[in-house]
């Protein structure tokens, strides 16, 4: 029986209360908007690149605790990583929340492992992955916000 405390772990509740990097980024290179029409969640993710590295990442928007905490932790985790590293992290994260990541690989996700409970609540997978999809959209085809 999936328990609520596995879904709403303390780290998630804390990031929901005080999300990190929760700000617009006037000097971003690119940004993308993410939207989940089923629940009305929406957010914007901004990125500033330094060569191939994500120098700064921020977000703003409205959503449930899972989506907000996921965006907050994502911005903290991918900052300083290369595009390829960020993409690989997303792939592992997605496998975690869909319950397809081998347990021994969970620790390679660091703090993101707190989202392991999401796999017990399939309807919340989209909440947890919205910010990551939006980051990928920003990196792949993001609207350049500055020149």
């Amino acid at each position: 029986m999936p328990s609520l405390s596995e879904l709403y772990q303390n780290v998630i509740l804390e990031h929901n209360r005080s999300p990190r990097n929760f700000r617009p980024m006037p000097n971003a290179d690119r940004h993308a908007d993410g939207h989940n029409p089923l629940c009305g969640d929406q957010l914007t993710v901004w990125v500033r690149m330094d060569g191939g590295v994500l120098e700064d990442v921020s977000f703003q928007g409205s959503g449930c605790a899972i989506s907000r905490a996921s965006a907050s932790l994502m911005t903290s985790m991918v900052k300083g990583k290369t595009r390829e590293e960020a993409t690989r992290l997303f792939e592992r994260f997605h496998r975690l929340v869909t319950g397809t990541l081998p347990p021994d690989q969970a620790e390679t996700l660091g703090k993101l492992a707190v989202f392991s409970g999401v796999s017990q609540f399939p309807i919340r997978v989209k909440c947890a992955s919205l910010s990551w999809h939006t980051l990928r959209a920003a990196l792949d085809e993001g609207i350049k916000t500055t020149t």
Binding site: L7, Y8, R17, G40, Q42, C64, A65, I66, F121, R124
Partner: protein, 412 residues
Amino acid sequence: MTVTAAPELDVEQLRKDFPILSQRIRGKPLVYLDNAATSQKPRSVIDAVGRFYATENANIHRGVHFLSERATLAYEAVRAGVARFLNASSSDEIVFTSGTTEAVNLVAQSWGRSAVRAGDELLVTAMEHHSNLVPWQLLAAQTGAVVRAVPISDAGELDLDAFDRLLTDRTRLLAIAHVSNALGTVNPVRALVAHARQHGLVTLVDGAQSVPHLAVDVQELNCDFFAFSGHKVYGPTGVGVLYGRAALLERMPPWQGGGDMIEAVTLEASTFAPPPARFEAGTPKIAQVIGLGAALDYVAAVGLAPIGAREDELLAYATDRVSGLDGIRLVGTARHKAAVLSFVVEGVHPHDVAAVLDDEGVAVRAGHHCAQPVMSRFGVPATVRASFAFYNTPEEIDVLIRGLGRVRTLFA
């Protein structure tokens, strides 16, 4: 405050009619407060559908064999029963659809495409479910007509002055919810329909949320069309009803072609059956119609008056208890409401509220309730909605309140 069941209803006994209500969810007794999404089904409905498939199943209107004849009689008997339920003047005014959504689309595509011209105006309200808004937007795009919406107040009531102003000599239609699914508001449809008809408008009332709670008399409402869904009134999914005034239905062209809706067919052209068959192309939802008949019988046996009184008591009790909590804002505080309590918990997203309540066995809806313009009007992305049926109890509302306490502790 304590509330006792309306003396007319033995709720404890009636709950036993609904097998699902005795279930445990996540180890806790099910508290089902999502009745506006779909109601639960009494044993008599479940059995009627099962018995039809087990002993009567055949296609209708075409076989001369015993089972087909019996199935046809049963199907048409429900049509007559629906006509009585709505007090329609004839069962020929009752069209079976897949639900309210299809009923509205039928009117938009059949009446609308033949009667609405570029520049005409279609009047809806700002509290419509998407199913009574989007079909008119589609019609507008097809014809060049314009959709206008009567605005709503902070309490969630229609702005009747604006309604008067929005009626122009180009307005052709009033399409309006009887009861709002997102706010619970009971609209003064009888007066609005009368006013609209004085201006020569065709009128459609979306009764999806009213039929389960209050007696409907289409001749008294005097609307041209009235739509409702079977599954919200204790019947099966997949079946609904369009009532249409005979004089209008007779003039309307078919909107879907196929078997059962024709008079004569050649390779070149076809002529069409009179209503209601003209609007029921193909094999209909026979078993679901049989189930709907059992549901309406059940409702009639319990009585819509005691059902409505019971639900009013539950709504008053829930409104009182929820209002007493800190950090809760009710969305929809109309003077006249039915069975729906929509609210937001400050600082907590409705989906998180619903997830915590689910852990307590409490089923509520969290989201935009297919009424995004209502959410925009109240400046929220979504709400939590508890919606009641006569089989709910004050004790279940107490469980909801305890769950909301847990929400505040968890997200403090």
